[in-house]
Symmetry: C2
Subunit: 361 residues, 2 copies
């Protein structure tokens, strides 16, 4: 088995440190082994610290980040619920789709791809009978960060504020409790630098007070019987993905060793430095100043460049992955990950030199 | 990070060979990298060989085996569908539960825990308007194998024959096409000796002709747009669990290197040899002769033995995991995995010696 390594500067997965790969390959043990119980407790505590929450419920769901989205829908939304759903890119559109399939009354509030949604438009869409408001904090399709300020107050005590922080967690400032977020999901493979396959998830008491149980697999109440945030014996629900959870623990430990604020600052600096370097080559950032998502730099590819051909050469000749655009940005933009170990001057230099070489070619 | 290794002889996870752990820790690459596309094609081909099917659709879902069950429900069953569901243990009961949550009209056909269901009782429950029949081929809660013979003919061309082969795949004879199975799911962590986290899944044309799309995450039609069994460009749906798929490939390669028939035979021999050794210590198999599931030996613990205490000492003093009973067998039975690398004379000897030592203690 020989995999040619890549420098992963696309939309995710991101560069996985050897420490995390080593953790991943530790001996598999049982999901009810006391050794594993201690690991679960540590992962829950590390997730709370990373989400900046005191929530009792903080655990990795046994699915990718998109599975975290599905679990949010299956467990917190009932058919007929009115849900205000912000859509300013592919991942907001995906949530609107998932909500619609679940029978929710979905009210989308849209913004142009590449811009944040004005808070007052989200607030205006809220009505007294609404169940939840959902926004994508870090839009991976456009590199835009959606501010959460002002949403909690607008939706009152009965509404749920639901957030996708797949690409922001561990890389862009977000503090769930301070923002009044009721439930959020993320993914292992972005700023946590863990392979894809787990969805960090958290929910507060307002969210868990009325759990839906349509799905057997994503039944949060049953999953909590295994994760046991309140202590007590763990009851088997499904077999946990043991080795992936080892890797997540290691990734979260690295985040805490660096310190969340220091890590946020490093991502901001790495983003700005890469943005400036690529701007000199004619690649302008899609997001306006102040709306950028540090871990994901989305740039317009200059006219006259066959973006897919250059991207393919970056991969084949230089071993560097960057991602193409989605939806209306397909063929027009690149999405460059600035995530964890990818948010380093060495990564920037390798990418910029490779792009320069290929533009000359 | 130091994990004390265990000899995993419980209900799963099973012993993971170093080759598989090494594959797991290979460098993470992107889910749209051509290198990964080649791996996906190989995994699909290896799954077809292991399932004994010519099905176009054969892929690992990004969830544990239980997620495979959920995907089967979400994608093949519509609300109101009449489904005949065999229940002779915890995993049949789980499926009946999941079907009920999805709004199916569930007709259960039950048998005592520890016995197979008589085929004619399943057949008698079938009516012309039924949509599907579901059975658990390898009941992990009881160590019983449910025969599939006679089911396909009974349900006609319009019905779907759906099978859970989580614990049998790669360890107990099952040939999906020969048995006329329309869709089946398995898990990575039983006889394939891969860490938990993936659900091998297959479906034939009869099953995929009318896919339900209630779930976004388990939308098989969208997932097929990424796995592309018919060739063509892969469209992103969700980020695949890259490293787990490396590990699954390695586990499936090991199965094919040994040869499926040889592997089935080895499991049968290892089962019988362990059964005989434990019978001498007073642990009698639950399943009668001819109904046993080779990869999972469920035995009654003799009266007067505190099974939980002995099981705990096996783990703490000998590093050996066996599993306790579920449901009506809790406190009364052990479930002993005879799965892949666990189906070896060395594993049997270590377990038998440890049990002898603890019974003397």
């Amino acid at each position: 088995m020989s995999i040619e390594p890549r420098l992963l500067l696309g939309s995710g997965p991101s560069p996985v440190p050897q420490r995390v790969l080593d953790a991943l390959a530790q001996p598999t043990i049982g999901h009810l082994d006391p050794q594993f119980g201690a690991i679960m407790d540590e992962v829950a505590e590390l997730l709370r610290a990373t989400f900046r929450t005191e929530n009792r419920v903080a655990l990795p769901l046994s699915a990718t980040g998109s599975g975290g989205m599905q679990a949010m829908v299956d467990t917190l939304i009932a058919p007929g619920d009115r849900v205000v759903c912000g859509v300013h890119g592919a991942f907001g559109a995906r949530m609107a789709d998932a909500l619609g399939r679940a029978g929710a009354d979905v009210v989308t509030v849209e913004a142009e791809w590449g811009r944040a949604i004005e808070t007052e438009r989200l607030v205006d869409a809220w009505t007294a009978g609404s169940r939840a408001m959902f926004v994508v904090h870090g839009e991976t399709s456009t590199g835009v960060c959606q501010p959460l300020d002002g949403l909690r107050d607008a939706i009152g005590d009965d509404g749920l504020l639901l957030v996708d922080c797949v690409t922001s967690l561990g890389g862009h400032p977000i503090e769930l409790d301070a923002a009044g977020v009721d439930a959020a999901f993320s993914g292992s493979q972005k700023c946590l630098n863990v392979p894809p396959g787990l969805a960090p998830f958290t929910a507060n008491e307002r969210a868990t007070a009325k759990l839906q149980r349509r799905s057997w697999y994503f039944d949060l109440e049953a999953i909590l019987g295994y994760w046991k945030p309140d202590g007590g014996g763990r009851a088997y629900h499904h077999t946990a993905p043991i080795n992936m959870i080892y890797a997540l623990r290691e990734g979260l430990r690295i985040v805490q060793e660096e310190g969340l604020e220091a890590r946020w600052e490093r991502h901001a600096e790495a983003h700005e430095s890469l943005r400036a370097a690529l701007a000199e080559l004619g690649f302008a950032r899609l997001a306006p100043d102040g709306e950028q998502l540090h871990p994901l730099l989305c740039v317009r590819v200059p006219d006259g460049i066959d973006e897919a051909a250059v991207r393919s050469r970056l991969l084949q000749r230089h071993g560097i992955e960057v991602s193409g655009g989605l939806g209306p940005l397909a063929g027009k933009a690149w999405r460059i990950g600035v995530m964890g170990e990818g948010a380093r001057p060495e990564a920037r230099d390798r990418l910029v030199e490779a792009v320069q070489a290929e533009l000359r070619a």
